[in-house]
């Protein structure tokens, strides 16, 4: 099954200005599988994703990439007003796509009506959907999504997670997903990695759909889409980042 691996990180780390942003991370993303990264702010989630994408030059450890067909949704993207850009122009950013392919991707994320709108006039949620549409439009083998549901309300969040699951099934691509939430991850996740400068713990998410308390809390549909992840840490982090074993 080794040829199903799309990207493999082996004990990787990255330091900037003599400070380790992340260290000793190993994980792999396979075809059709979803790996979710969780962790507090500044824990190195985005850095880990960028290492996997090959955006840093001087990293520790090894990254093995088995595909070059990658779709990326960055955490932050600001479009300058000096650059007039419509959604349709943005879709063509890194690839030459046909009109049909663009329409298909925009329809899938439900923003086909925004095709001729200026990117600067979109709301946060609309913008995330456009970012996602752009990333999936070229039918990537590996999809890296850095907090794709930020700025989206709870109902929209559930809908987007369902969409991501649908994409993963339809394209059979591997997904590396960064979640902004520490405890809830999407149910379709195959593997969860909790980061805080290093891998604190990892495992698979717990089924919550059956739990009536969560049903009451999130609603019927949400509790099927979201799962709870129970952390199993054997150490705590002091305020200065020092690690203490329990």
């Amino acid at each position: 099954m080794g040829n199903n691996i799309l990207v493999k990180l082996n004990n990787v780390g990255f330091q900037q200005n003599q400070k380790w942003l992340v260290q000793g991370v190993s994980l792999q993303v396979e075809k059709g599988k979803i790996v979710t990264l969780i962790g507090p702010n500044g824990s190195g989630k985005s850095t880990t994703a960028k290492i996997a994408l090959g955006l840093f030059k001087n990293i520790e450890g090894q990254v093995e990439k088995f595909t070059n067909n990658i779709g990326y949704v960055p955490q932050k993207i600001s479009i300058d007003w000096t650059l007039p850009l419509r959604v349709r122009d943005f879709m063509l950013l890194t690839d030459n796509l046909t009109e049909d392919v663009i329409d298909e991707a925009l329809s899938l994320t439900g923003v086909i009506n925004l095709k001729d709108k200026s990117l600067g006039n979109l709301s946060g949620g609309e913008f995330q959907r456009v970012l996602l549409a752009r990333a999936i439009s070229k039918k990537p083998e590996l999809l890296v999504l850095d907090e794709p549901v930020q700025g989206v309300d709870f109902t929209g969040e559930i809908a987007l997670y369902e969409l991501i699951k649908e994409i993963s099934e339809k394209l059979n691509c591997g997904i590396l997903l960064i979640s902004h939430d520490l405890h809830t991850v999407m149910s379709a996740t195959d593997h969860v990695v909790c980061l805080n400068g290093h891998v604190c713990c990892s495992g698979s998410p717990k089924e919550v759909a059956k739990n009536s308390e969560y049903k009451a809390l999130f609603g019927e549909q949400a509790s099927q889409t979201l799962s709870i992840y129970e952390h199993k840490h054997d150490h705590v982090h002091a305020n200065d980042g020092d690690i203490k074993k329990n």
Binding site: N68, I70, G71, P84, D89
Partner: protein
Amino acid sequence: MFDDFFIRALVAGIGIAFVAGPLGCFVVWRRLSYFGDTLAHSALLGVTIAYSLEFNIAVSIFLISSAIALILIQLQKKTNLPSDALLGLLAHSSLAVGLVVIGFLTFIRFDIMGLLFGDILAVNKKDLITIWVGGALILLVLRLIWKPLFASTVNYELAQAEGLNPDRAKAVFTVLLAAIIAISIKLVGVLLITGMLIIPTAMARNLSDNPKKMVIFAIIGGLLSVFIGLFSSLEFNTPSGPSIIAAALVLFIFSLLKVKQTIQLKN
């Protein structure tokens, strides 16, 4: 109907406008106007070196501007000074050194006003070939690096993550900037080349909602500026560079009317 020198200036200006439009868009989008200025200031040094060594002027300017760009990158890496201070340092020191060298070269007669502000009489047939062949090459190379350059202008990491090469595109673009300065110095002059790059582009921004439109409007704006500027230069005996830039400014002011309208429509 017109004198030969005027036709030559016109043909030169048209060629420059076609190249300045798309390059100017990237200068504005990537916030490089001061960088362009620095390269242009260093061009004077290139001219003096060309004269003293009896070397081709365009090639000499191109080499000096590229060298200044390299020095800037090194200084950015090795010092703690902010980029705008480094740009100012390089711009004014290279201009000053250029002028000092001119002072020493007493055996050659320099038209300093012509170098700084452009001279409609200075364009000869050889310059036309330089402008049109050089300009076509610049546009061809820009076409080749368009995708990575544009994608990384929008978002550097996204472009790199999806397999494009933004660093190479940026380096090539710097060379293209040096090249357009080299070919347009005779007509527009050292001090005003950046104006030729950014003023028609600024006008175009006011009129367009997508990048392609902006490039086309920037070219049209540049062409109009060249026509209006050169005719008034001939009519009022003003230096060609300032006349072209002043015409571009007038067009920019007209384009503001459009902005005002859209803002009113929005409210």
